[in-house]
Structures are given as structure tokens and as C-alpha cells.
Amino acid sequence: MRIAVCAPQVPFVRGGAEIMADTLVDELRARDHEAELVTVPFKWYPGTRVLDQAFLWRLLDLTESDGRPIDLVIATKFPSYVVRHPNKRVWVLHQFRQAYELDRTDLGQFSEEPRDRALRRSVHNLDRIALGEAQRLFATSRNVAERIERSAGLAAEVLPHPPQELPYRNDGYGDFVLSVGRLDRAKRNDLLLEAAALDPGLRVVIAGDGPDRERLESLAAERGLNGRAEFPGRVDEAELASLYARCLAVYYAPVDEDFGMVPYEAFLSEKPVLTTTDAGGPLEVVTDGRTGYVTSPDPGELARAAGRLREHPDDARAYGLAGKELAARVTWDRCIQRLLA
């Protein structure tokens, strides 16, 4: 089949969603499909730009290319699913989160002015229409599926995707808790730093880059964590695999995250995951006392959970192995079989 995978791009920014879209194209090609990534830059501010940019997708004609039909489009993240195609399938990684669970939080975008409130509703309406057109609708997690059900009244099939390919391994359970991902406020790395401030035995490594890095580094300095909080920046795949392989546990507690590949990556390295009760998607795979610890979003509780793993590395290993069993079930074979069915 000729398949167009649609995903937006934010120039100079790369994260899990971009990796997933690239990997999906590779995996489709590996199964003898002609697959191509179709992407359009996305800027969501100021004002109604979020709608203008979403509308660009509507103007694309992906019914054929160079005189040959495109059999199928698979759209991933807002606003790529606004694209039209008679055989549109949507695998929702993200809606426009500022219009949903991030609204009226520090991470929100829309003010209380009538125009901003209406703009947010217009995003909901656009989602309802665009997702409603899909021949099949998938969501990467139950959290995302439930959000779609609540906001658009549409039923989505839950279809988690595998994490990125890395040389996953386990080199033991070291003395640091690892955090991986883009450094923005939503990832809530400040909670991990505050936990480290409360437990002198807790060392943390926060890998990644992003707009929150400076603030986090300042916070680490203010809390006197010199030497116990490292910011290696963006690391290559080999280094990332090595960090996973050597850490004690992986911290992953964004606010009401849609899905997040980090827990699966941790599990493939046989590492437990520390998360919080309000983290959303990760709670679908992180079970307290089984594949990691789930605490309230409180530095003290988080520090105590990390301390327990440090004192009981056998537990860390057992939780990591239990997680690995879960992660092993999520394969590209299964995903593509369901996507194309």
C-alpha cells in the first residue's frame, strides 16, 4: 500500500512524537509498504494562529501523488489529523493539550477573555469534526482515549506504540535516578530536584534539553545539589541506552501525560519507574509496588520511594523485570496489523 504518515513539525524541536512518526514510516517500509512522512510546520500562537495553521492541513490533497493514488493516510498529532482523505486513520498521540487538560494551568494558553474561551472551543470543535471523519480512530493510551470520548464523544481504540529502538540492556542498579525528555515545565523535573534536596543520598541525572533547563539548573544550585544533580543535555542513543542501563530507577511524572515512551524504555532496561498519582498515561503501565512506585506529587514521598529502591535493589530489579514483560507485548508487528486492518 501507499501510505502517507502525517505529523506536524515544530522546526528545531524533536521529541517522542517525532521519533514515533519516523519510526512508523520505517516500520511500514520494512513490511513492504510505500510509506512517506508528510509534515507541515506548526505554530500555535499568538491568538487564532493555532486554527490558521491547522487549516493548512485541510488544504492538502493527499488523495494521490504524482498521478498515483495514496491508499491510506495515518495522521498522528494535532493538527495533522485535520487532513482529509477517504481512507483516513488517526492514531492520536496528542490533541492540542493547551485546549484540554492544560487549560487554566500554568501551562495553559487561553485567557479568560471571551475570545480566548471561544478559541479553545473552536479547537474542540475542529477535533470533533476531524477525528469524527476517521475511518478508524486509535489512541496511544487509555488516558488519551478517555479524553477524546469526553470532549468529542468519539470512541477510540487504545493502541500503545513501542518505544524507540535503542540498545537496551541492564548494567545493574546504580545510585542515581534518571529523568529523560524534553525539559519543559509539564515534565515536572522540579519535583525530582526538590526530592533530591530532601534526601542527601539521592542523586539525579536529568537528560534532555528544552526551555525549562535554565530554571531547573538554577533550582538545583539554589537547593545545594551540586554534584548530585547532573544535566548532561541532549544525549545520543548510545549514551541514553547507557544511562538507562546504569540507573537505579527512572523518574517520569509529567502532569496528566498522554502516554510517554519513557516508562517502556525504562522497562526494556529492566528498571522500575517512579511516577505520581496525577501523571495520567504512565499510570496505565506503572503499578505501585509492581512495576515501580506511584506517589502523590510530593517531594517527600518521592524521596522516600527512591530511598526504598536504593535500600532494596532486589525490589528494583523485580519491578523492572515485571515492567519488561509489559513492554515486550507492545510491538510494531501488532501495531501495524491493527492500524492496517
Binding site: T48, R49, D52, F55, R58, P114, R115, R117, A118, L119
Partner: protein, 410 residues
């Protein structure tokens, strides 16, 4: 965002007053709501929400306020003939009534209105309300409409309304556990509301009398005032129901209403003609898990077939009604299934929090939607102009079509 809320409220006795008393607390959890009051200055707000029904005593002042400041109208009834008659003839403004009728019915309408004013023909709001709804002025003034049914939405569109319409199901009451009133009857069939011809009481009495021939233990509970001119006693006498079979209660307070409904095995809610109204009584019955029998008209016809038996208003109405009552009297499994389906429908569709959320969405879209639409249109038009796309060209039409597909820029 601040919303000015215009509605009758208790202690006024009206379904819309009850509705607002029920909705307001949930709305206030989500929005800054200021309730407008009769004969007081209009409150300052970002948007005004007007609850409009067909009763001129309850809604006349609200239409007066709407005339001063257009806003979102919650259209509880589509037919507003009685309301408009009250606002015109009731205020000694015969010309206003003539104009309203001419606007909708042309010269024929004006002539008919003359007939009403001269008392040469019966009042049209009683005899031919469906033909002359007189909703035109209210629709003109509405910047958006909230309706409870597809029926009203379709009638508003058919009347030429082009603004946004939001359909919001009537919220159900979260009632405390209800103790059923102690009433005899096997089965006990209830009818709640005014006792008159438009509630199809004559047809109900006839069907019930027939049911009772084979089921002497059956009882019919009639709750509500008898409308002037409706001779209930004579009808009961003629059908042999004077001394037995009928249980009567006039207007009852809310607690007693719930207790009586809870006592019923089946509730009957017939209506013709319909003004497009939603029945708070039916919503209460469904929330108690009661099987209901309704007329196959208006909002009632939109109830799912697995919670309501629908009786067409036609020559076979009494026969169909009898068959429905007989089925429900005979078949416990059907009643149990309808009961479970009713409770599920109320949970799914008529949740108060859901209704309040839908109101907030409607209000937010109404308050700022036009500005958003204009901004998007402006951006798209500017970009199109920059690359030489002329208004009216094929490319411009394509842009307009794509915008319309995703409801942007309108």
C-alpha cells in the same frame, strides 16, 4: 466570563422555573452568573442568556429585555403564539399582533388576526398554534439558540434561523431516595400535568376503560388541575369510571409528585399539538426508571424506542394506546427492560454536570465565537490575497469550502 441569566424562578410555578432552579447551581460552579430580575435594571455581563417559553406571564419581561439587548435564547417551546399574543393583545397592542401574524402568514395571517381581534374566530394560539408559531421576532433577536431537541432545531432552521444552535438535553434531577406513595392499582398508570384535550386525556380515558374490562385491579392516577372547559366528570361517568378505577390529585408539591410517580408502574405522557416543549415530567419519570408511553410527536418522538412506547396521533390513537398499556400491564420483562434502559439513558444523556458543561461551551462560543471566526477568515483572506487569489475565483471558493467543512470562519 459573566453571564446575565433571565428566567422565571420558583416560587413561580412553571416547568422552566423548576428547570432553572435545577440548572443554576451547576452553572454557577462553572461561570460567573448574575440572575436578572423582573422590573430591575439589566445586569452588566459579557453575555445574556434568555429562557423563553410560551407563557406570557412568565416570559413577557424576558422578551422585553431581549429586545433591548440581543443574546442567546434558550428556546423551551418553539411555538410562541400564546407568548406573542400576550405581549401584543394582552398589552392592548392589537396592531402588534396583526403585524406579527402578517409577518408569518402574509395577508391571510393578517386577516385571521383581524378575526381574532374581532372575536369572529377562536384564538389561534388555541386552535391553530402549530400553523402560526410566531417565533420570528425571538429568532431575529437571538444571537444563538439553545434547544433541547432536534425537533426544535429543525423547526428553527425551517423558519430561516441561520445562527448557531446548541442542543443540550434537559438535565435530570438528582433526587433523594423516594418513598413511593401507597396507592392501589395493578397496574397503577400515572398521568401528570394539566387534565385537558391537548394532553390527550379523552383518548387515555377510553384506552384505560378498555384495559380495565379485563384488568379490574388497574388504576389510573390523574395528577394535575383540570383545565377550564374540560368536563372530566362527564367523561368519567360516560366511561363508567366515576366510582372506581381513577385516583385524582390536583396540583401537588414536588415531594408528593416524586412519591406519586414512584408509585406508578407505567407513566403516560401524551401530547398533541406540541409546542416543541420538553417534558420535565418525563425526565423525572425516566430518572425513576419508569416505563413511559408518549405521543409520537416533537421531542417525545426522539426518546429512544427502548425506553418509551410511542403512540402516533392518528385515527388509531386510542387503539395503539390500549395495546401499549396492555403490553406493559402483561409483560413484566418488558417493563423491567424499559426501566433499566431509562436509568441508563438518564445517566448517559441527562446528567446535570454534562448539561452544565454543554451550556458553558455554548456560552463561550456565543460570546467570542464571532471574533474568532472573523480572525481566522481575516488571516486566510489576507494570505490568499498576498498570493493573488481574487474574491469569487475558483481558488477562493475552494478555500471557503474547506473552511466550511471544518466549521471555521463562520
Amino acid at each position: 466570563m459573566k453571564v446575565a441569566y433571565y428566567s422565571p424562578l420558583p416560587p413561580e410555578r412553571s416547568g422552566i422555573a423548576d428547570y432553572s432552579a435545577h440548572l443554576l447551581p451547576a452553572l454557577r460552579e462553572r461561570l460567573d452568573v448574575v440572575v436578572a430580575q423582573r422590573r430591575r435594571r439589566a445586569p452588566k455581563a459579557d453575555l445574556a442568556l434568555y429562557h423563553v417559553g410560551n407563557n406570557p406571564d412568565a416570559h413577557g419581561w424576558i422578551v422585553d429585555a431581549l429586545r433591548k439587548r440581543p443574546g442567546v435564547v434558550v428556546l423551551h417551546d418553539f411555538v410562541l403564539h400564546h407568548l406573542i399574543a400576550g405581549l401584543t393583545i394582552g398589552r392592548r397592542d392589537g396592531h402588534g399582533y396583526l403585524d406579527a401574524m402578517e409577518r408569518e402568514g402574509g395577508v391571510v395571517g393578517r386577516l385571521l388576526a383581524h378575526g381574532v381581534l374581532d372575536k369572529r374566530i377562536p384564538p389561534l394560539w388555541e386552535s391553530r398554534p402549530e400553523e402560526y408559531h410566531l417565533a420570528g421576532e425571538v429568532l431575529d433577536l437571538a444571537t444563538g439558540l439553545v434547544v433541547h431537541s432536534r425537533y426544535v432545531e429543525q423547526r428553527a432552521r425551517a423558519a430561516g434561523y441561520e445562527g448557531p444552535i446548541w442542543r443540550i438535553p434537559h438535565p435530570a434531577w438528582e433526587h433523594a431516595p423516594v418513598t413511593a406513595a401507597l396507592l392501589e392499582g395493578s397496574p397503577l398508570i400515572g398521568s401528570f400535568g394539566n387534565v385537558n384535550a391537548s394532553k390527550r386525556i379523552p383518548q387515555l380515558l377510553e384506552a384505560f376503560a378498555r384495559l380495565r374490562r379485563d384488568r379490574p385491579d388497574a388504576r389510573l392516577l390523574l395528577v394535575g388541575a383540570v383545565s377550564p372547559g374540560f368536563d372530566l366528570d362527564r367523561r368519567l361517568q360516560r366511561l363508567g369510571l366515576s366510582d372506581q378505577g381513577i385516583v385524582r390529585e390536583a396540583y401537588v408539591e414536588e415531594d408528593r409528585l416524586w412519591a406519586l410517580m414512584a408509585a406508578c408502574d407505567v407513566c403516560v405522557n401524551l401530547r398533541s399539538p406540541t409546542m416543541g416543549e420538553t417534558s420535565g415530567s418525563v425526565i423525572r419519570q425516566l430518572s425513576l426508571g419508569k416505563p413511559v408511553v408518549v405521543s409520537d410527536v416533537g421531542w417525545f418522538a426522539e426518546l429512544p424506542a427502548d425506553v418509551a412506547l410511542k403512540v402516533p396521533v392518528d385515527d388509531g390513537e386510542t387503539e395503539t394506546l390500549y395495546a401499549a398499556l396492555e403490553l406493559l400491564a402483561r409483560d413484566d420483562a418488558v417493563r423491567a427492560s424499559m426501566s433499566a434502559n431509562a436509568l441508563e439513558l438518564v445517566r448517559r444523556e441527562h446528567d446535570l454536570g454534562r448539561a452544565a458543561d454543554l451550556y458553558v461551551a455554548a456560552i463561550e462560543q456565543a460570546a467570542g465565537g464571532e471574533a474568532v471566526a472573523n480572525a481566522v477568515l481575516g488571516d486566510v483572506a489576507a494570505a490568499a490575497t498576498e498570493v493573488g487569489i481574487e474574491p469569487g475565483s475558483a481558488e477562493a471558493s475552494e478555500l471557503a469550502r474547506r473552511l466550511a467543512e471544518v466549521e471555521l470562519g463562520r
